[in-house]
């Protein structure tokens, strides 16, 4: 297993280099940040200022020189210039990464619990009203656009606040500004801001995972060893928890590992609607202002997480399924 892990990590290095070159090339195609920033300004900044900014973004260098400077800089902790002259891209990115992590951990827990419960309950009563209900709900949430769920939740919450005269649901950011006084008031405030994005993210995630869980459970239910366990007179509860669920959770575990990887690059809409300063908002703001080196950094981090997510999924497979052994 250790050899396998090391080998996969070594394989990741050329993949990351390839991804870095591809993304750097792609990011050199649209207009540069200096041209975008100063376009249409009246009065136009002096040409000397524009030239200085071009130089700061290394736009007076060849493509390969820019790429080399960027790669070299990363190894020295410098991820490149940004429109924000005070920016330390890596430091800023990690701060946003932390915010996204806070958001997705709770959403994932809620989604997994819901998915396992509904998936198992659907499978053990296949084609029952309950199964059809969960299937229907799953597809409803799966087919709803994220922005629509988020906006709907937000509207309901704001109407709840205004009609009850309370301020429990926060719709802007991870906490109120100014923050309330007192420890418990702050805890309530954090919770009030966490509820809506968590539900929004959890609903769409649960929907997909529950289908996984249901299919996996159905497959296990029809396997020989489960029939044998039942024939031996083991109780239904014990068969379910000890024999079926344990095996049926394997695909779920790997799916979750991959979902986490996707989440770090894919919570843009939820973060935007609820004004959370996570990776999604950081990335989309950089894209809209053509802040090239920030976009590159976020893409590289997302790529790294996807590689690690895949590796973790593969390792978990081997850990959970005794039939799988990596040479």
């Amino acid at each position: 297993m250790l050899v396998f892990t090391i080998r996969r990590l070594i394989q990741a290095i050329p993949i990351l280099f390839g991804a870095s070159l591809l993304t750097f090339w792609l990011m050199s195609i649209p207009a540069d940040p200096v041209t975008v920033e100063f376009a249409g300004r009246n009065p136009r900044p002096p040409q000397g200022t524009i030239d200085a900014e071009m130089h700061r973004f290394r736009l007076d260098e060849s493509f390969w020189a820019q790429y080399w400077d960027w790669i070299k800089g990363i190894f020295h902790g410098n991820w490149g210039p940004a429109l924000d002259k005070n920016a330390n891209i890596f430091h800023d990115m990690m701060r946003h990464f932390g915010v996204t992590t806070r958001l997705i951990v709770l959403a994932l827990i809620v989604a997994i619990v819901l998915a396992v419960l509904t998936g198992v309950m659907s499978a053990i009563k296949q084609y029952s009203v309950r199964d059809y209900t969960f299937t229907f709900l799953g597809f409803v949430f799966l087919s709803m656009p994220t922005f629509w769920i988020a906006q709907l939740l937000k509207t309901i919450a704001v109407n709840f606040n205004t009609s009850t005269g309370t301020h429990f649901f926060g719709t802007l950011g991870a906490y109120s500004i100014p923050q309330p006084d007192g420890f418990w008031n702050r805890i309530v405030d954090y919770a009030g801001h966490l509820v809506l994005p968590t539900i929004s993210l959890a609903l769409i995630t649960y929907a997909g995972l529950s289908r996984f869980q249901r299919a996996s459970m159905l497959e296990v239910m029809n396997s020989d060893y489960v029939r044998l366990a039942r024939a031996k007179g083991i109780s239904q509860r014990r068969v379910l928890t000890r024999h079926m669920l344990r095996t049926a959770l394997i695909p779920m575990t790997t799916a979750t590992a991959l979902t986490i990887a996707v989440f770090f690059g894919g919570t843009i809409i939820t973060e935007t609607v609820f004004n959370w300063n996570g990776m999604g908002v950081y990335t989309i703001d950089a894209i809209s202002s053509h802040d090239k080196y920030i976009v590159l950094a976020t893409l590289m981090l997302t790529g790294f997480i996807v590689i690690i997510g895949n590796l973790v999924a593969d390792i978990l497979y081997a850990v959970l399924d005794p039939r799988i052994r990596y040479a």
Partner: protein, 588 residues
């Protein structure tokens, strides 16, 4: 499980009921599709004084900010944005104020007088208020004027060391000298600069000295001072100085900026609010819900029909839409092989129906929108003169189409009819691209209407959506719609129209116009300046280079518990009188 289902059903029912009740309870505080809500009904006629009233001490005002802070040094090109300037208005003193009615008045808190004492050479004398001090108690003196001149003149500090947003005006100064212990400042210009009132938004020289490590004017001193100011928001968490009514007391990167009163503020009106907090909300679409939920009290957003409708439904929120100096226009690239012909340009502008564009874009939520007829001056200001109507451009009715057709045919064009294909005298079919920013629905509609208008004279127009305006500088467009941010200070607009001007993206050129523009930009007499600018504008209008469409509406919505905050459509924004903002005296 069943009880769970019941609970779910109950929750849905409660939610639905809540929505219905909330909808039923909402009473409009607005006066319909007008310019202002009922509470602000005087804003249309008295923009400088509406929403005035006595304040009571205390309170926190939460204001939206739609851009991240790149640094607090707004003189720097990368940080010279509207949102950052709004925040810094509370700290940076300027000798003049841009008022909501586009007038310019003396900031008597900072200077007791500022007068043009000679026109040859142009000399301006500022008398600084004896009580004016920076937050550390250092008097505001001529040293501050000299420092601000030196780092922005493009000569004493190179563009590499000091990449400022602009050198205009500062590069025209010959000397700045102080007298009366620095409380009198005499500025002598080497070339006339009519917009002298736009100069000297002051950054403190005493702080610059600290950053420079002593003498600002020693070699490298200005560079170090500049770098020091730039580091505010980074290595230095936020500016620790202020010469205005407020100081910055907290900055959470990408989240918020908190202002609290400057204890050394010397102005006549002391701030009454405890705090003003600017909340960074990058997606303007989220501001409406935030306003409704009380998470912000002031929203300054790009208006559209949905926004206005939503705000009209809110209780205890006032709003105003004002016309400002930001104006939408259609540009023709004079270097395009077809558009190089003035006759075609004139025919195109004759065929475009501006009123229809206005009716189908801004008018539904901004009823007073009207065609703009000058390229430099806004209606209601002293220099405004209609230079478009006499040309017949922008009408697009049957008579105008017939005139356009006749103009084209008399110049060798064929096919100038609805459904036809316009061909020039070389037999080439006239096809043009119309560029617009794709995220802007109003511009998309404008492009579609222009496409339909020009089809009436046989011009084939292809719509070219663009992600941003970065293509302007390279001239990679045939026709384009975008906006210029105007100003009561018009001399700078010379660069938009003069041959070789940095912002003359259409590459328009007319030697007679150039002469008039050059003279206008140096006229110290405002009447003469307007006469020369308008003479140049008449020439340009006849040349059909840029067709002004309308003044864009500027929107503000404010919780009704606050007074003395109002719309200001100029670049100064609502923050022009930040010291006056406060909680209404009878607010709960």
């Amino acid at each position: 499980m069943r009880s769970g289902s019941k609970r779910l059903a109950g929750l849905v029912a409660i939610t639905a009921a809540t929505l219905l009740v909330a909808g039923a309870c909402g009473t409009s505080s607005s006066s319909g599709p007008g310019q202002s809500s009922q509470g602000w009904s005087t804003c249309d006629k008295d923009p400088n004084n509406c929403n005035s009233g006595p304040t009571k001490p205390g309170g926190t005002m939460l204001v939206t900010d739609e851009k991240k802070i790149t640094s607090f040094f707004t003189a720097d090109a990368a940080s010279n944005t509207y949102d950052q300037a709004q925040i810094m208005s509370g700290l940076i003193p300027s000798p003049f104020i841009l008022n909501p009615d586009l007038s310019v008045t003396l900031n008597k808190d900072l200077v007791t007088s500022a007068e043009l004492t000679s026109s040859s050479p142009e000399t301006v004398v500022y008398k600084i208020n004896p009580n004016a001090v920076w937050m550390d108690g250092t008097p505001i003196t001529a040293d501050d004027f000299i420092f601000n001149w030196k780092f922005q003149d493009g000569k004493d500090c190179s563009a590499t060391d000091c990449p400022v947003a602009g050198t205009t005006g500062y590069d025209a100064i010959d000397t700045v000298t102080g007298s009366d212990n620095g409380k009198t400042v005499t500025v002598v210009f080497k070339t006339p600069f009519p917009d002298w009132q736009a100069l000297f938004a002051l950054f403190p020289a005493n702080v610059a000295k600290t950053y420079a490590g002593g003498d600002i004017y020693a070699p490298g001193g200005l560079k170090k001072a500049y770098a020091g100011f730039l580091s505010e928001g980074g290595a230095v968490p936020f500016p620790k100085w202020s010469g205005g009514p407020y100081q910055i007391s907290d900055y959470q990167k990408d989240v918020s900026v908190t202002l609290t009163p400057n204890p050394k503020w010397y102005g006549a009106t002391k701030p009454s609010l405890d705090k003003i907090i600017y909340k960074i909300i990058l997606d303007p679409a989220q501001e409406t819900e935030a306003l409704k939920n009380g998470e912000v009290n002031v929203s300054v957003a790009q208006p559209d029909g949905d926004l206005i409708a939503a705000v009209q439904q809110m209780q205890n929120v006032n709003y105003n839409l004002s016309k400002g100096p930001v104006w939408e226009h259609i540009d023709l690239n004079n270097k395009n092989k077809f558009l190089a012909d003035k006759n075609l340009r004139q025919a195109i502008f004759l065929a475009i129906n501006r009123q229809e564009i206005i009716d189908k874009t801004v008018k539904p939520f901004f009823p007073s929108a009207a065609p703009l007829n000058n390229h430099n001056y806004m209606p209601g200001t002293a220099g405004y003169k209609d230079v478009i109507t006499p040309t017949g451009q922008g009408v697009g009715d049957d008579a105008a189409i017939a005139k356009a057709k006749q103009l084209l045919e008399s110049n060798g064009y064929t096919g100038a009819e609805p459904g036809g294909t316009l061909k020039n005298k070389n037999g080439e079919a006239v096809t043009l691209g119309f560029s617009y920013t794709q995220s802007n629905k109003l511009r998309e509609t404008t492009a579609e209407l222009v496409q339909a208008d020009l089809a009436k004279i046989g011009v084939k127009v292809t719509l070219v959506p663009k992600p941003d305006l970065s293509f302007l500088g390279s001239g990679d467009f045939d026709m384009v719609v975008f906006a210029w941010v105007g100003s009561p200070f018009v001399a700078g607009s010379k660069d938009l129209w003069i041959t070789g001007g940095g912002s003359n993206f259409n590459k328009y050129s007319n030697p007679q116009g150039d002469t008039l523009l050059t003279k206008a930009a140096q006229d110290l007499d405002p009447t003469q300046e307007a006469a020369d600018f308008n003479a140049a504008d008449e020439i340009m209008a006849a040349d059909a280079n840029v067709l002004p469409l309308y003044q864009k509406p500027v929107f503000i919505a404010v919780s009704s518990q606050f007074v003395n905050i109002r719309n200001n459509a100029t670049s100064a924004g609502p923050a022009y009188n930040m010291q006056d903002w406060g909680l209404k005296a009878d607010a709960q």
